[in-house]
């Protein structure tokens, strides 16, 4: 979505005026002060129009300053409105989905369910949903299995399987059952459903200030009071010095000095942060969670699905002594042709790609299926009995396993892989190395995290040997092998006791306690209701690697806040040099050298500073919404960079900007 989409901008303009309501303005003390100043100068303007006084500030000056002060308030309102508008647009899409649905509620003692409106469903009710019907509310499947279209929520068009029991039992209101029949126990009252929460979150209705935002507000209010003192006391000091300072000038100085830039953009930055997460299909239940994501020190990552693809894949063929590798490859492929498991398919793919063999015509081959007893599968082709399976099972079948193959199998086990033996009749041809394949690019990602000072810990149910091998390959810092939910919980608590913040993903009900304990718990949308309620974020795509992006969004949010605060405060230097000489030059013309920007006149100098101060808010809205560019570097490098751009830049930019505006004003003849 473009930063300024016309529809959103139109709505935001109206909203900017609606936000002039003092009750809304008062929530932002910095902008409230600007508004009070604007009211004050407006009053002066009215007075001057009604009863012009000689020697006062010219009417055009008071008028122009007043107008730009109002613009300052409106621009800040606009920034917030645009940020909210982008969320609202999404909320509206979601709301359309929540059309009146009909539910078929199970009534105890009756054979047929009664038909009621979804709005009447309460927690604990049982409903029956059949193919083609819309799920009336959030809940858990207690009976049956169905394929469900969740595209309305996730944007993912491929249907997903939901079934009772296990970790894929939850369904979300608004999604559509495509096949079969399920019975669902409703888990949320109307208005509390996932969809409702999502809508209120993206609309910013339930948005509360985060701890860091509150602290930042305290700083901004403190600075505002300091500058209020500076400006108010300047009046008597001026009287002593014989300098008459008009209220318009004092208000202009005050508004330029108080941190209006960050004050005006702060809430937009916060809303935009949640919004950026939403765009990645992650819903944060609170702004606090997004902020915590930036602070995370340790990531707990499930091996399966996050670090590895989850399926073991054939990676290598090892022929036994005296066997041609082509013979092994052919046998391995033939034994796997009827094997529809991912392992089986991966063997066929490997042989096709690496040895350029195509499956022969098999004619009257008989396929032998895998069973738990034989632990082998394969095919019988005439006199040939081709088998592949567990090493000892194939050994027994073939009447002995050659020593070299046995040794190679041991090595594969040591490296964290799984060996499969292939035999043709009584002849053992060799081994297939099945391996947990680490996702592409994951190693580089972990490197980036290391640079940022975040430790990654892989959690797996594998034995320590396997875990170690995969951990080394993926480049994680540490691993937790043979992990149980209790182990995971203990690890989180241990890290937290050291003052560290922990993030994790989870989907199962047994993950719920750990998700609740972790500082950032991202629940998978496919997960159970319990998991979703325990976490403070939900990933609609159910992609565990998303955790990495969540952390980046959190960091980006904090960086944007810090950069704009620094920029705002650094701006003051130039504004002093623009306004102070202008204020005093009338009485003390000797201080002209202080007017280092060479501004045309006192009035144009003050007006230029006020205009710059207002425009900079508009100029920075895209940055506030987009966030500063995030780079995976160490803190020292990021700081150097940001200080150069926002600190030094913040000192220089207003000198150039104010001078430019002054030149324009002069060209327009307004001096």
């Amino acid at each position: 979505m473009a930063t300024f989409e016309p529809a959103i901008v139109r709505a935001a303009v109206g909203e900017s005026f609606r936000k002039l309501d003092p009750r809304i303005l008062a929530r932002n003390p910095v902008m409230f002060v600007v508004a009070i100043g604007s009211v004050l100068t407006s009053g002066l303007l009215v007075r001057d129009i009604a009863a012009p006084s000689a020697g006062g500030a010219p009417l055009w000056f008071t008028g122009a300053v007043t107008a730009w002060l109002w613009f300052t308030v409106l621009f800040a309102n606009f920034a917030e409105a645009v940020a909210e508008g982008r969320g609202k647009a999404q909320a509206d899409t979601l709301r359309k989905m929540r059309q009146e649905t009909v539910a078929r509620r199970v009534v105890p003692g009756q054979a047929l369910p009664e038909v009621v409106s979804a709005a009447l469903l309460r927690k604990g009710d049982l409903v029956v949903i059949e193919a083609g019907q819309v799920v009336p509310g959030d809940g858990e499947i207690i009976e049956g299995i169905a394929s469900v279209d969740e595209s309305a929520i996730t944007g993912e068009s491929a249907p997903v399987i939901r079934e009772s029991g296990g970790d894929r039992s939850s369904v979300t209101g608004g999604t559509k059952v495509l096949s079969d029949r399920i019975v669902v126990r409703i888990g949320a009252n109307p208005g509390e459903s996932f969809l409702d929460r999502m809508i209120s979150l993206v609309e910013g209705a339930s948005r509360q200030k985060t701890p860091n935002e509150i602290a930042l507000h305290i700083l901004l209010v403190g600075l505002t009071i300091v500058f209020l003192l500076v400006c108010v006391t300047l009046v008597p000091l001026g009287i002593y010095s014989g300098v008459h300072l008009g209220a318009t000038t004092i208000v202009a100085l005050l508004v330029c000095l108080i941190p209006t830039t960050i004050g005006g953009l702060l809430s937009a930055i916060g809303i935009a942060g949640m919004d950026r997460l939403l765009r990645k299909n992650v819903i944060a239940m609170s702004g606090r969670a997004v902020e915590a994501a930036g602070d995370v020190d340790v990531l707990l990552l499930d091996k399966t699905g996050t670090i590895t693809h989850g399926n073991r894949m054939a990676s290598e063929l090892i022929p036994a002594d005296g066997v041609r590798i082509e013979d092994l490859a052919e046998a391995a492929m033939m034994s796997s042709l009827a094997d529809e498991t991912p392992e089986g398919r991966s063997i066929v793919t490997l042989v096709k790609e690496r040895y350029n063999l195509t499956p022969p015509a098999l004619g009257d081959a008989t396929f032998v299926k895998f069973t738990a007893q034989t632990r082998m599968s394969g095919l019988d082709l005439g006199e040939r009995h081709i088998r592949k399976g567990a090493v000892d099972a194939v050994g027994t079948h073939a009447g002995g396993m050659p020593a070299d193959a046995r040794e190679a199998a041991g090595k594969i086990g040591d490296s964290g892989g799984t060996p499969l033996a292939v035999s043709d009749g009584t002849r053992v041809l060799g081994l297939v190395h099945l391996k947990d394949v680490v996702k592409q690019g994951i190693r580089e990602r972990f490197l980036r995290f290391r640079a940022m000072g975040i430790r990654t810990v892989m959690v797996t149910g594998d034995n320590p040997r396997t875990a170690k091998a995969i951990a080394a390959e993926a480049g994680v810092d540490d691993f937790l092998a043979e992990a149980t939910p209790e182990h995971k919980m203990a690890l989180i608590k241990a890290e937290q006791a050291k003052g560290k913040l922990v993030a994790m993903t989870g989907d199962g009900t047994n993950d719920a306690p750990a998700l609740a304990q972790a500082d950032v718990g991202v629940a998978m949308n496919t997960g159970t209701q319990a998991a979703k309620e325990a976490g403070n974020m939900v990933d609609l795509d159910s992609d565990p690697t998303k955790l990495l992006e969540v952390v980046e969004v959190g960091k980006q949010l904090l960086m944007t806040r810090g950069s704009l605060t620094t920029f705002s405060i650094a701006n003051d230097v130039a504004k002093y040099f623009a306004i102070l000489p202008a204020m005093f030059m009338g009485v003390y013309p000797q201080i002209a050298p202080l007017n280092i920007m060479g501004l045309a006149s006192s009035q144009s100098a003050i007006l230029s500073a006020v205009i710059f101060n207002a425009l900079i808010i508009i100029v920075l809205i895209p940055l506030a919404l987009r966030g500063v560019k995030y780079r995976p570097l160490g803190a020292a490098a990021i700081l150097r960079r940001s200080l150069l751009v926002y600190g030094v830049g913040g000192v220089i930019a207003p000198f150039a900007g104010i001078k430019l505006i002054d030149l324009l004003l002069t060209a327009l003849g307004a001096t």
């Binding site: 700083l219 300091v226 008597p236 930036g294 020190d297 050291k498 005093f584 020292a636 700081l639």
Partner: protein, 573 residues
């Protein structure tokens, strides 16, 4: 400016640099070590004094208990000093038979010394008896400095200590810190320094004033007294209250070039050393040196500007055809000259000492602005004994908060998170200065009881008003002179200014220490905001200048800045 002038400044800087480490390590041993030095001698004194206070096994206090102890102790001392001044006429050790001090002046002076300010609205040699000087005032010279160290230690402990298992470890014990500061540091060092000063010609006697016949045959009264003993702690404790009105410009207080150097070194000695002590407490010496570096940058900038400004005669005198080589010598001791006067003025206002060896009022406008800016930075350029460290630590908290977010983490310092409560306290601390300095200067500038005390009108008059409140609020105590501060209004208002500038800032500082103490420390990693190195030092300097000094830029513009440009045009108001 001369090579010899710069050389003398360089010597001073090198001496301070050399002293910082050993003295800082000694202070760490005294306050945080397991075994204090000289247990047989000083240890007995310490235990004896503690027993005298009824503290056999002193327990760690919470910050609130510490603050209450500190306030009660300070207020009691203030009251005793007030009574001594009022009653000095009937008390012993009053060889000149001086009468009791009037109430407003006694209040002003008691507040002044209890707050480590040593603003003197009176002429000491004709107002205060020897007893008042030795018991009433010198008491505060020692204790107010020790209190300052204690407060700095509380803030440092809060930032560097790990919380106890229940999250509630104490911040130290006020009486232990106070007594250790006196017994191991201030009293023995002052005793040694006093002897050195006597060897250089500083007087030390309980005799009355001495009448002498001058070479021209005229009569002159030479004021005498126990000067050397007062002088040592006046510098070491960054007090600055002189035995004589002329302060360190008086030959009996500061007789030679050597004593001049010694006195300046003594002002910076403890404040500089405390940065090293802090590094020890943080278990990372770089954390201390970065503060030292930031302070040094601000100090060198001040000294350079002041020396440059004073090395040129006042521009307004350009047409008088006087030699320009010696610079602006008006109001300076020729014994010290321009370089040592500019250096002394910078040192005494960077640290909240306030001793002077030249008239700041007679400096050129920009030269005189340097002391004003120095104090209004918040007395953090080495600063008062203890006050400099806790002051700069508040600025560090502020800096980390403003810039820390830029690395993508919520702000943390030494592994501890800085949150809303600390920000609230830091802003309360920051607000005190503009509130009292700008507020009261503005009041005085438009009220007859304010302006009637002025000797000068126009911008220079405003500088005099501003300087008085900056000096009072900053607990500096140096005077711009040119202002008759011994009126009832000035005595009361400045007395309150000094109390506010001390205690309204100490309490939030202690509270920051208390709040930080409860926080867990996270071991820093590559993602942590770096608080060492040149980048952080530069950032800290920028925040101190922008938040601290720029606040006063508008007021200064109407004072010294305008005066400077007027002088450039050959105008004098």
């Amino acid at each position: 400016m001369t090579a010899s002038g710069w050389l003398q400044i360089a010597v001073f800087v090198l001496v301070i640099f050399a002293l910082t480490r050993p003295l800082g390590a000694y202070l760490h041993r005294v306050f945080e070590g397991d075994r204090q030095p000289l247990p047989r001698v000083l240890g007995r004194v310490e235990r004896g004094l503690l027993r005298l206070c009824g503290l056999r096994a002193p327990a760690e206090q919470t910050w609130v208990q510490y603050a209450v102890s500190m306030l009660v102790f300070s207020v009691l001392g203030l009251l005793v000093t007030y009574v001594i001044q009022r009653a000095q006429g009937v008390l012993p050790l009053n060889p000149q038979h001086l009468a009791g001090v009037p109430a407003p002046l006694a209040f002003n002076t008691a507040s002044s010394f209890a707050t480590n300010t040593n603003w003197q609205a009176y002429v000491p040699e004709t107002t205060m008896s020897n007893l008042t000087q030795m018991a009433g005032l010198a008491w505060h010279n020692f204790t107010s400095a020790a209190v300052g160290i204690g407060v700095a230690l509380v803030v440092a402990r809060g930032l560097t200590r790990q919380p106890g298992p229940d999250g509630n470890r104490g911040v130290g014990n006020f009486y232990v810190d106070l007594i250790r500061g006196l017994v191991y540091v201030l009293v023995p060092m002052s005793a040694v320094v006093a002897l050195v000063l006597v060897s250089q010609g500083v007087v030390q006697t309980l005799d009355a004033s001495h009448a002498v016949t001058t070479l021209e045959g005229g009569k002159q009264v030479l004021a005498l007294g126990p000067v050397a003993s007062q002088e040592a702690i006046k510098m070491l404790g960054t007090n600055g209250g002189g035995f004589f009105n002329a302060n360190s410009a008086h030959p009996f207080e500061n007789p030679s070039a050597l004593t001049n150097l010694l006195e300046m070194v003594l002002i910076f000695a403890i404040p500089a050393a405390l940065t090293y002590t802090y590094g020890r407490m943080a278990r990372d010496q770089r954390q201390g040196w970065v503060l030292f570096a930031a302070m040094s940058v601000l100090f060198l900038a001040g000294v350079a500007v002041c020396y440059w400004a004073e090395a040129h005669p006042n521009a307004a005198l350009h047409d008088l055809q006087i030699a320009s080589a010696p610079g602006n010598l008006e109001g300076k001791e020729v014994r010290f000259g321009v370089a040592n006067s500019a250096l002394f003025a910078t040192v005494t206002t960077d640290a909240s000492c306030g001793a002077v060896n030249a008239m700041h009022d007679s400096f050129t406008p920009l030269g005189g602005m340097v002391p004003m800016v120095n104090i209004s930075l918040g007395e953090v350029v080495f600063g008062g004994v203890g006050a400099g460290l806790y002051g700069i630590l508040v600025f560090v908290v502020l800096t980390v908060f403003i810039a820390g977010l830029m690395v993508g983490r919520t702000p943390e310092y030494l592994g501890k998170k800085i949150e809303g409560r600390e920000m609230k306290l830091a802003m309360l601390y920051i607000l005190v200065f503009p509130l009292i300095i700008l507020g009261l200067t503005a009041w005085a500038a438009v009220a007859s009881y304010g302006t009637s005390s002025l000797n000068n009108a126009g911008p220079h008059g405003l500088s005099e008003l501003l300087y008085a409140f900056i000096s009072g609020a900053g607990n500096n105590g140096s005077a711009f002179a040119g202002l008759n501060a011994n009126t009832d209004w000035w005595n009361v208002v400045l007395g309150l200014t000094m109390l506010a500038g001390r205690f309204l800032m100490i309490v939030p500082a202690l509270a920051i220490g208390g709040a930080m103490l409860r926080k867990k420390t996270v071991i820093p990693g590559p993602g942590t905001f770096p608080t060492t190195g040149w980048l952080f030092a530069a950032l800290l300097v920028a925040v101190i200048v922008i938040v601290g000094a720029l606040t006063f830029f508008p007021a200064l513009s109407l004072g010294p800045v305008v005066e400077h440009f007027q002088a450039q045009h050959g105008e004098v108001m």
